[in-house]
């Protein structure tokens, strides 16, 4: 599903160069539940941003669902992100002046779906996270746990094959954190590949596999598959890997 080989990321300013990732190798299988752990500043979030096509990398190779993302333009990367990836953030990142229905509608709008298709998906996603009755509520009217469940509904409404979660329970109390983790596990059981970045060893322990990043280098790796097989480079990356 996700393969990074020798990926580096260097942030440069006029004064300093910061190596956030140094030859990172990670392979995530289809349907896997992976936890990425590591101390603050180790490069976990940089890994997640690169995996989510939110940032470019300085060197190395990255294949997402068989598509080599190096050199893809902004339109193609955005389409790939929209169709294949769902994001769950620590601070939920719901848009404050949209109600839940409209928040979940955002990624579907960018996919150009019909109104009826969007409605079906939004209602289905809210049903899955137990917020069907709150679809007209605004984020400020919900608890933190409800907001995170809404964010999960937004992430899964478009049926992405990969869920990327950055400290998804970091802002929640233990009860709500458990609920959120249960939802993520359910989604994984239904076939979604889940990658979470976390500090929390208890949370990491619930994943099928852990990858530890220290100083931009991944440890505890399982062997990565070779990238020598032909890379699929579809003319329309939007439909790649389907």
């Amino acid at each position: 599903m996700l393969t990074m080989q020798d990926v580096s990321k260097v942030y440069r300013t006029e004064m300093v160069q910061t190596h956030a990732l140094r030859g990172l190798d990670i392979h995530v299988r289809e349907g896997e539940f992976l936890a990425v752990t590591g101390p603050s500043g180790s490069g976990k979030t940089t890994f997640l941003n690169i995996a989510g096509l939110l940032e470019d990398f300085s060197a190395g190779r990255y294949q997402l669902d068989g598509v080599d993302v190096k050199g893809l333009g902004d339109e193609a990367r955005s389409r790939l992100r929209n169709e294949k990836i769902g994001f769950i953030f620590q601070s939920f990142n719901l848009i404050a002046d949209l109600n839940l229905y409209d928040n979940i509608d955002v990624p579907l709008r960018y996919r150009g779906m019909s109104r009826s298709d969007r409605k079906r998906r939004i209602e289905g996603a809210l049903e899955r996270v137990g917020l069907a009755s709150r679809m007209k509520h605004y984020p400020a009217e919900l608890s933190g746990g409800q907001q995170q469940r809404a964010a999960i509904a937004r992430a899964v409404a478009g049926d992405p094959r990969l869920l990327l979660a950055d400290e998804p329970t970091g802002n929640l109390d233990s009860q709500m954190a458990r609920e959120v983790m249960e939802i993520l596990e359910q989604l994984n059981a239904q076939g979604a590949t889940v990658v979470i970045v976390t500090h929390d060893p208890e949370l990491a322990a619930r994943a099928q596999r852990n990858v530890h990043i220290v100083d931009g280098v991944a440890t505890d790796l399982e062997p990565a598959p070779t990238l020598l097989r032909p890379v699929r480079q579809p003319s329309n990356p939007a439909h790649a890997g389907r």
């Binding site: 979030t45 941003n49 989510g52 939110l54 940032e55 902004d74 339109e75 955005s78 389409r79 992100r81 929209n82 169709e83 994001f87 953030f89 620590q90 601070s91 990142n93 719901l94 848009i95 002046d97 949209l98 955002v106 990624p107 709008r109 960018y110 996919r111 150009g112 937004r154 950055d166």
Partner: protein, 436 residues
């Protein structure tokens, strides 16, 4: 594609509700700029419009240089009016499709209607082709013929306002009116007609109303009707300066020529006529003629007041200042939403989608500003109508300028939105999502 634009408009309206004060400031800035520029632009548009749309390029003003030798400078602009001798000669020659000589004047009217005192009215003394050449609309009757010109017929065409005043709006054709103590038979009543500018005679005002009475030039001269406008004489005259051979220019002469070739041939004819007159001793200067179509004529005569042009430039300068303010406000508004931009990018919005979304928002601000600006322009034109200027009464928004208001408002705000929208689409999503 279009549903996405509707979505962006919906987002823009939500954004307005969220930042009412900032949005209000932008709307007011654009409205002020649009109001000021559309007020002055409307006045400029009305004053520089084509008085004969679709036909003006076939109608030409004739100029000849019949002055004496004094003060001659080669190539200088000849007089804008002709002598009576030249006008009558050119009229008789009939070298154009149509031709008309004319002059303005004032006539005393003695109404037969009870309770109505005698009054003066603006008049035009002209020849038969005036009406068809300028496509003058008739409500009743028609103009007169060349034979009636030659016969110095006592006939008149009157305006619909005068017809209303004299005959209570009944059909005035066939009835008589008393002009300067002579009886005239009304042969035509005009429909609504106000050529703007008053192109065919700029000596009696550039933007005045059309005259109320039209009589044959020959008849007016026979009855010695008083004339108005400018007259230029360059040597001593024997008898009246309006006499057939007086060295005075005071008559406007217009011709209709259907093609550029005809215009060229007519210009050659004017040169040849000037040479002929020079040989005969009437003209002392080398041939110096002008043949300008209506719009060229108005341009050459600088009909649009220079202060109106200046005001228009100033108003557009003000609009630029308003737009610069709007750019600053849009930048502040858009960049305050960096988190939302980051989220949208993470959810699949491309840079282009973000750029378009914010540009649509800027355009929507422009549309609202345009509506308010339209109200301000309406107020501005109301103020212009209350100014003591010749063109005051013309200051009204027509459909064309109404559309132009919105086009200008939206185009201006899109222009103002380019930089802020560009900056918005350059927001780094990872940075925004991480910073939460």
């Amino acid at each position: 594609m279009f549903p996405r634009y509707f979505y962006y408009v919906d987002l823009a309206l939500r954004s307005f509700r969220r930042n009412r004060v900032l949005t209000g400031l932008m709307v007011v800035a654009i409205a002020l700029g649009i109001g000021a520029s559309m007020t002055t632009l409307t006045v400029l548009y009305l004053l520089s419009g084509d008085p004969l749309p679709g036909k003006s390029e076939t109608i030409y003003a004739v100029q000849l240089d019949s002055h004496g030798p004094e003060g001659y400078r080669p190539g200088e602009e000849p007089d804008t009016q002709l002598t009576r001798f030249d006008a009558e000669t050119l009229l008789r020659a009939r070298r154009a499709d149509r031709q008309a000589m004319m002059s303005g004047g004032n006539v005393a009217i003695e109404p037969k209607r009870a309770g109505l005192d005698p009054f003066y009215a603006d008049a035009r003394y002209t020849s038969a082709d005036f009406f068809p050449m300028f496509e003058v609309p008739f409500a009743q009757g028609a103009g007169w013929s060349a034979a009636e010109d030659a016969g110095r017929a006592r006939i008149a065409v009157i305006s619909s306002e005068l017809n209303e005043k004299l005959f209570g709006g009944e059909n005035g054709v066939g009835r008589t009116i008393r002009l300067e103590q002579s009886e005239f038979r009304v042969v035509g009543v005009l429909g609504r007609w106000r050529p703007t500018p008053h192109f065919y005679d700029l000596n009696t005002g550039s933007y005045g109303e059309a005259e109320q009475v039209f009589v044959p030039f020959s008849t007016a001269r026979e009855l010695d009707f008083s004339r108005s406008g400018t007259m230029n004489c360059w040597s001593e005259t024997e008898g009246e300066p309006e006499g057939p051979n007086a060295p005075c220019s005071w008559i406007q002469f217009w011709v209709q020529l259907g093609s550029r070739d005809q215009a060229s041939a007519y210009r050659d004819y004017l040169v040849s006529y000037s040479e002929q007159q020079r040989k005969a001793g009437r003209f002392t200067r080398p041939p110096n003629v002008r043949l300008r179509d209506v719009m060229q004529w108005l341009d050459a005569r600088h009909v649009v007041p220079s202060d109106v042009r200046l005001q228009t430039w100033l108003a557009f300068g003000f609009l630029m200042v308003c737009l610069l303010n709007t750019i600053g406000l849009l930048l502040a508004k858009f960049l305050r939403r960096s988190q939302e931009i980051g989220v949208r990018r993470a959810l699949g919005a491309s840079r282009r989608a973000v750029f378009t979304q914010f540009l649509v928002e800027a355009g929507t601000v422009g549309l609202v500003g345009g509506i308010l600006g339209l109200g301000l322009a309406w107020l501005g034109l109301w103020a212009v109508r209350h100014q003591p200027t010749e063109y005051a009464a013309l200051a009204h928004l027509d459909l064309y300028m109404l559309g132009a208001t919105f086009v200008l408002a939206i185009a201006s705000s899109l222009l103002a939105g380019l930089l802020p929208a560009w900056r918005a689409c350059q927001v780094t999503p990872a940075l925004q999502l991480k910073s939460q």
